[in-house]
Symmetry: none
Subunit: 219 residues, 4 copies
Amino acid sequence: MAKKATPGTRKTPANTLTRGHKKKARTRRQLLDAALRIYAHAGVGDLALNTLAEEAGVSNGTVYNYFRSREEVLEAVGLELAVQLSEQILTVSEAVDSGAERLSIAVRTFMNKARTDPDWTRALITVVRYAEGMRSALATYLRADLQAGRRQGDFHYAHEEMAMSMVISATLGAMNLLVEDGEVEHADRIAAEMVLQALGVPAGEAGRIAGLPLPGEGG
Amino acid sequence: MAKKATPGTRKTPANTLTRGHKKKARTRRQLLDAALRIYAHAGVGDLALNTLAEEAGVSNGTVYNYFRSREEVLEAVGLELAVQLSEQILTVSEAVDSGAERLSIAVRTFMNKARTDPDWTRALITVVRYAEGMRSALATYLRADLQAGRRQGDFHYAHEEMAMSMVISATLGAMNLLVEDGEVEHADRIAAEMVLQALGVPAGEAGRIAGLPLPGEGG
Amino acid sequence: MAKKATPGTRKTPANTLTRGHKKKARTRRQLLDAALRIYAHAGVGDLALNTLAEEAGVSNGTVYNYFRSREEVLEAVGLELAVQLSEQILTVSEAVDSGAERLSIAVRTFMNKARTDPDWTRALITVVRYAEGMRSALATYLRADLQAGRRQGDFHYAHEEMAMSMVISATLGAMNLLVEDGEVEHADRIAAEMVLQALGVPAGEAGRIAGLPLPGEGG
Amino acid sequence: MAKKATPGTRKTPANTLTRGHKKKARTRRQLLDAALRIYAHAGVGDLALNTLAEEAGVSNGTVYNYFRSREEVLEAVGLELAVQLSEQILTVSEAVDSGAERLSIAVRTFMNKARTDPDWTRALITVVRYAEGMRSALATYLRADLQAGRRQGDFHYAHEEMAMSMVISATLGAMNLLVEDGEVEHADRIAAEMVLQALGVPAGEAGRIAGLPLPGEGG
DNA sequence: CATGAATGAGACTTCATTCAT
DNA sequence: TATGAATGAAGTCTCATTCAT
C-alpha cells in the first residue's frame, strides 16, 4: 500500500509497555485525552475521528470499539470534561459555608486553572459552546451557592436563571481572555469581584471576599 | 492579495463595474442575508455553500462570483453582522452623555433585540463564537462607554480588558438564555442592572439607571 | 496524495464526444447501464458505488448528483429494468386475445431474451431476487393473462397467487438454466409448454400453442 | 448422515484431534445453527461474523478456529443445509415406487416444511440463491424420481435439465410465497398438482396423486 | 482453544471548488 | 455573470481478519 508513515500500527518499538493488560481502559483514556488536546487547538467541528485516532496513536477503526459514532465521542468527551470539572469544584471550598465565598473560590479556581492549564480551558470553552448540556452541569454546582448566598443576605438577584447564565458566561469570558490574550495580574480576584458585585454584593465586601486566601494556599 | 479585479469582495476598484452593479449588489446581499438565516438555525459548521446558494436562490457556482472561498463568505458575513451591530448601537443613546446610562441602554437594546429577533441574535452569537474578531468590533463601541463611566465616577473596575470581556460575555450569555430558554420578565433591565453592578455601580443606582425609559420608548 | 491509478477521471481521450450538451441525461444512462453490467456479473451486494462510478466512467461523487443514496441507486436500477421489461412484454402479443397464447408468447419471448442477452437476463434475475417489488411488476402483466386464460376455459388453477408465483419462478428458473448452463434446443417452446401444462392446459394443446410462430417471426 | 468425523474444516488429517473433539463439534454446530438463524432473517450479505459469533455465543476470534474465512463459513452453511435437506427427502417416500408419487410427496413435504418452519425455509431459499451448487444437491434427488416417473409412463418432458430446473424453481417459488405472503389453504397439494401437470401428468391424475395421504399422516 | 482489542482496507457520503456552456 | 454537472479530497463507519494474552 506504500503508506508513508503508518504511525500507530504494528512496530511501535517505543511503547511496548503500553501493550500490557489493562489495554481497554488505557486506550479509552488515550482517546479522551487526545480529544481534549484536539479541542484545545481546534474547534468541535475539526474533531475528525481519523485525526483523533492518529493523535491517540491507534488506528482508525479502533475508535469504534469505544464509541458507536462520532456523536458519542463528543458526548463522552463532554462528560469526561464535566467529571474533571466536578473534581475541580468539589475539591475546593468543602469547608466553606458562605455562598458568596464559595462562589468566589469557584470563580478564582477556574481562573487559575485557565492560567495554568490553557489547553484544558480551551477544551472546556469549546465543549460548553457545543454541548448546551455542559452548562447544566455547571449550573448544578452553581445554583446551590447562589441560593445559599441569597439566604445569607449576600446576594440580591432578580432572576436566578439570569444570574446563573451571567455568572457562567462572565467567568468563561474571563477565562477565555486569559487564555487568548495572555497574562493579567490578579485576574482571579478581579473576576471574582466583578461576579460578586454583579450579584449585588457591595464593592467593599466583594473586594474583601475576593481577596481571601484560597483554601490550600497556605495563608 | 494583489489580485487585479477582486470583483465581489471588498474594495470594488472603481474602474470595473460602474455599470450593472445594481444586480450584483443585490445578489451579494441575497447571499449575505441567506447566510444569516442559516446561521440562525444551524452552526457555522453547517453553512454549506450548496445550502447557502439554494437559500439565496442562486446556483451554487454563482457564489464563487462573489466570494473566492467559503472562508471569505464567513468573513463577509461577520463583517456584515458587525455593520448591522453598529447600526443597532449608534442609533440608540446618541443624546446620552452618561457612560453608565449609555451602557445600560446598549445592554437593554441588545436584550430587546434578542427578544424580538431571535434569528438575528442566534446568528450574532454564532458569529461571535466563530470569529474572535467580532468581539473587537463590539469592544470598540464598548470601550468609550466604559471609560466615560469611569471618568464620571460611576464605574470602578480594576482592568479594562477584563471588564469589557465580562460585559460582552455576560450580555451575550443573557441574550442566549432569552433566545434558547424563552421569555423572562424585564430581562433587559435585569441584565443591565447586573452588568452595571459588576462594574461597581451600587445596587440602588444600578437599579435606577437600568429602569430609565429607553430613548424612543415614549416616556 | 500519491494515488496510483485514478482510473476514470480526466484523460479519457476517446469519449470526448460525450462532452456534449445533454450531459445530464447521458450520465444518468451511463450509470444505469453500468449498474446493469455489474448486476450481470456480480450480485447486488457487490454493487459498490465506487465500482459503479468507475464502470460508468465518472467520478465517485458524481453518482450522488443522480441518486441520494446507494439505496436509491438500487431502486432506480430496478425501475429501469422494470421499464425495459414492460417494453419487452408490451411490444409482443398486442394483437393476441387468447390468454394462453399471450402467456406462451411472453414466456418464449423471455426465454429468447435469455439466449440473446444473457447480461440483461442475469441482471433481471439478480434484481428480482433482491427487490421483491420487481415480482409485483411482473405479476401485474401476468395476472391479466392468467385471468383471460381461465375465462376462456384454457387455464384451470386452484389459487391465482400460487399460479403466478409458480409461473414466474419457473420461467426465471428456466432462463437461469439457459444463461448459466448454455444452449438448449427449443428451450423457449419447452418452457412455454411446461408452464401451460402446469396451468391445466392438456399436453397436446399446450404443445400446439407453444409451437405457434411468434408474432413478428414471419411465418 | 455419515457425518460424525469431519469436525474441523474439510479433511481432518486424522492424526490431530482424536481427543476433546466433543466440545469442538458442539461449538461448530452452534456456529452453523446461528448462521441458519441469521440467514432466515437477513440476506447472505448481512451475515457478519461479528453477528454470527454473538448469535452463537462465542467471541469473534473463535470463529476462526473453525473456519478459515468468511467464505468458508458460507460454504459450510450451504453444506449443512444440504445435509438437512437430504434428511427431509430421504425420510419420506421410502416405500413408494411411483416416481410421480415420490415427487408429489417431496413437493408437499417441502411445502409443509415451509409452513411449519419458515426460518429454515428462508435460510434454504437464501442459500439456494447464493450457492448455485445447492441446486445440484437438490437435483441429485430429483433426477431419480423424474426418470422413474418417465419410465413408468407418467411424466412426459422434452428436456430433463429444463424439467428439473423448473420443478425446483417452481417449488421454491411456492415455498417463498407461503413464507412471505402467509397461509394458503392446501398449498402443498396445489403446488404438487401444478408440478405434476407441468411434467405432463393429466389434470385428473395429477389431482389424484397430489391428494393421496402423505406417508405417516395416518390415513 | 478462547478471547476480544486492534487493525486497516474499503464502502458510503458530503461538499468546497472548478469549468464548460 | 449565471448555471449546474463534475470532481475528488476528506470524513464517517463497517467488518473480515490478526494476534497477544
